[in-house]
């Protein structure tokens, strides 16, 4: 994964079906100065977005999506050249131990539990963009 020069220039995609969660993250991220923040409610229209962007640095992927779940979307993201080397974090309210392990086995780079910590999320995003993994 390419470490971006300035975190604020990074291309970030949030895939999240719950509008509350999406609104909170968007509000915080935009306020923190991130310029390229995109949102999708599910995995269906993801590929055109990937291909429209010059690069993808970080993907925040909800596991509990309706229809195609996060694990399936992850598989497709890893298969796509544009997102194969991006940092992909699982974002989920299902914090059971086995979900965490399953996420690790599936190939997620980080695990952000919901509810997201509004005071931490921007630091976490910066950390992930710098190559840190978050599992707690």
């Amino acid at each position: 994964m390419t470490v971006v020069e300035r975190a604020e220039d990074a291309y970030i995609i949030l895939i999240e079906d719950d509008p509350n969660s999406y609104l909170v993250v968007e509000e915080l991220v935009k306020h923190a100065g991130f310029k390229h923040f995109y949102h999708r409610s599910n995995g269906t229209k993801l590929v055109p977005l990937l291909e429209a962007l010059p690069q993808v640095d970080l993907i925040l992927l909800d596991i509990g999506l309706p229809g195609e779940d996060g694990f399936a979307v992850l598989k497709r993201l890893r298969a796509h050249p544009q997102s194969a080397r991006a940092h992909i974090a699982a974002v989920t309210a299902n914090i059971m131990h086995h979900t965490r392990l399953r996420a690790k086995d599936a190939g997620f780079d980080s695990f952000i539990s919901k509810p997201i910590r509004p005071d931490k999320i921007c630091d976490q995003i910066r950390g992930m963009l710098n190559g840190h993994a978050f599992w707690w």
């Binding site: 719950d18 509350n20 969660s21 609104l23 909170v24 993250v25 509000e27 915080l28 306020h31 509990g64 309210a93 299902n94 914090i95 059971m96 131990h97 965490r100 392990l101 539990s113 919901k114 509810p115 997201i116 910590r117 509004p118 005071d119 931490k120 630091d123 950390g127 840190h132 993994a133 978050f134 599992w135 707690w136």
Partner: protein
């Protein structure tokens, strides 16, 4: 012996019935002999002189004896029979004198019969009586001189000899009968015993069958109960997981939006608005913490936390926890120090769980320390060092992890209290510092699940040191892990 009292009344009965049978046979023979003699005397006139009276005595004896046998006591019937036999011999004296009377030699027969039909010793009485009777008859007949002569003496001697033979033979006969009866009874007793024990066996078998069926029934019930309990437990876990998930989603909005407003990202707030927004935010966070801890506690309580242990370098775990802890120290003048022994051995742990423990201890340290130093220390025990050098038992080989702070400290009397669920050292602290009071109990149990121990030492005002041990991975565990997924260990070591 039949004349001695025996404790087997059936033996007496049996010999008596034998005697009666032989008596009846003799009686019939006497009757038939009487009839033949009567017929013979009627056919031939010349010899009829003797045969007629003898046959008369025979028939009379037969009739009388049989009558008594049917209606009266056996003993008298036999006596009459014997008397009749003797009477028939005496009758012959009217035709033959003693010297030439051949019938006196029939007396031993009477003696023998008496011995058999009554008692063995009665033979001697009858022999004496008969001899005296014959002698008397001879004297009456005018032959008194003949009594001392050979034929009579011979017949007397023969009589006693017969009595002796009769006594001996009937004794041995009855001994044989007794033996036979005895054996028969023994066999019978054995048979009864056998029958009894067979019945007992049958009963025991039935009982066993019943118990077996009972056992299988209760086994089935047990199995059903177990399945039900398992199902209930699964349902409970499922419920807890769902509940957790369902509660988390709205918390996201509560915590997130209150934070946004509180930070005045959407415009300035007046003091009250600011205060209330902070209260919403803090309450949301408290609820979240409670939810996390209750979930863990419920799983620990049900023994449902399965550790996924791997040989792990401790440094990789510390990294996970420290990133989070360092963000907690923002706004406080706290220095985070790390003192790790060189060449720490791999520990056999579930890295997620140990990170959880470490994070808990670190965030506690940060929470209760306003300024100063928090030191994270890790070193192997002396036993571990010895084991690494190849001598000593590796069972006590642990890595000790310490989290030392320079915070407010914990009073001696509170140092056990803090490991109890929903208890904090001081109620006022709870209000001031927040927290659910579940973190330490859960950490302690997680460490114990790994086979280690968690202790605290503290002095009030000088800070606290939390210390826990983690088992060092054995050669076998490392080899097994390498075999299972070599790439995962490689990945861990890369970190």
């Amino acid at each position: 012996m039949s004349n001695e009292p025996t404790n087997e009344p059936r033996l007496e009965e049996y010999t008596q019935s034998l005697r009666e049978d032989s008596f009846v046979a003799l009686l019939r023979s006497l009757g038939i002999a009487g009839m033949i003699l009567l017929c013979g005397s009627l056919i031939s006139n010349s010899r009829g002189a003797l045969a007629l009276p003898v046959s008369g005595v025979f028939l009379a004896t037969y009739w009388l004896s049989n009558f008594i046998r049917v209606h009266g006591p056996y003993r008298w019937a036999v006596v009459v029979f014997l008397a009749g036999a003797l009477a028939s011999i005496i009758t012959t004296f009217f035709f033959y004198r003693l010297p030439e009377n051949p019938f006196i030699f029939f007396t031993p027969l009477v003696v023998v019969i008496a011995g058999i039909l009554l008692r063995p010793r009665v033979g001697f009485v009858v022999a004496t009586g008969t001899s005296l009777l014959l002698a008397g008859a001879a004297v009456v007949g005018g032959d008194q001189a003949q009594v001392l002569q050979l034929p009579f003496l011979a017949s007397v001697m023969l009589g006693y000899l017969s009595a002796t033979v009769a006594m001996l033979s009937s004794q041995s006969f009855f001994a044989a009968v007794e033996w036979a009866i005895d054996s028969y009874h023994k066999v019978e007793r054995r048979e009864t015993q056998l029958f009894e024990s067979e019945k007992q066996l049958q009963r025991a078998l039935h009982e066993k069958e019943y118990l077996n069926s009972q056992l299988s029934t209760s086994n089935k019930e047990l199995e059903r109960a177990r399945a039900l309990a398992e199902y209930a437990n699964r349902m409970k876990s499922q419920f807890v997981a769902n509940m957790s998930h369902e509660l988390r989603t709205p918390l996201n909005a509560i915590i997130g939006f209150s934070y946004i407003l509180k930070q005045e990202l959407k415009g300035p707030l007046c003091a009250d608005q600011q205060d209330y927004m902070s209260r919403i935010y803090d309450s949301g966070n408290y609820l979240l913490k409670l939810l996390n801890d209750v979930l863990d506690d419920a799983k620990l309580e049900a023994g449902r936390i399965d550790l996924q242990c791997e040989p792990t370098p401790l440094e990789s775990v510390v990294l996970d926890a420290q990133v989070t802890a360092s963000s907690l120290t923002l706004g406080k003048s706290i220095e985070l120090r790390q003192e790790f022994a060189v060449d720490l051995p791999l520990v056999y742990i579930d890295r997620m769980r140990v990170a959880q423990v470490l994070l808990n201890l670190l965030s506690n340290a940060v929470k209760f320390t306003e300024r100063g130093v928090i030191t994270l220390r890790a070193y192997p025990t002396a036993a571990a060092l010895r084991a690494a050098n190849g001598d000593g038992w590796a069972g006590e080989a642990y890595v000790v992890v310490e989290v030392e702070d320079t915070g407010i400290g914990i009073a001696k009397e509170h140092q056990t209290l803090i490991f109890e669920e929903f208890r904090q050292a001081d109620e006022s602290l709870s209000r001031r510092y927040g927290g659910t009071g579940l973190g330490l109990p859960i950490s302690k149990r997680l460490v114990e699940l790994h086979g280690g121990e968690l202790h605290v030492s503290s002095m009030i005002g000088h800070g606290s040191t939390f210390q826990f041990t983690l088992p060092i991975a054995t050669e076998a565990q490392i080899l097994a892990a390498n075999d299972r997924h070599g790439e995962l260990v490689a990945y861990d070591e890369e970190l």
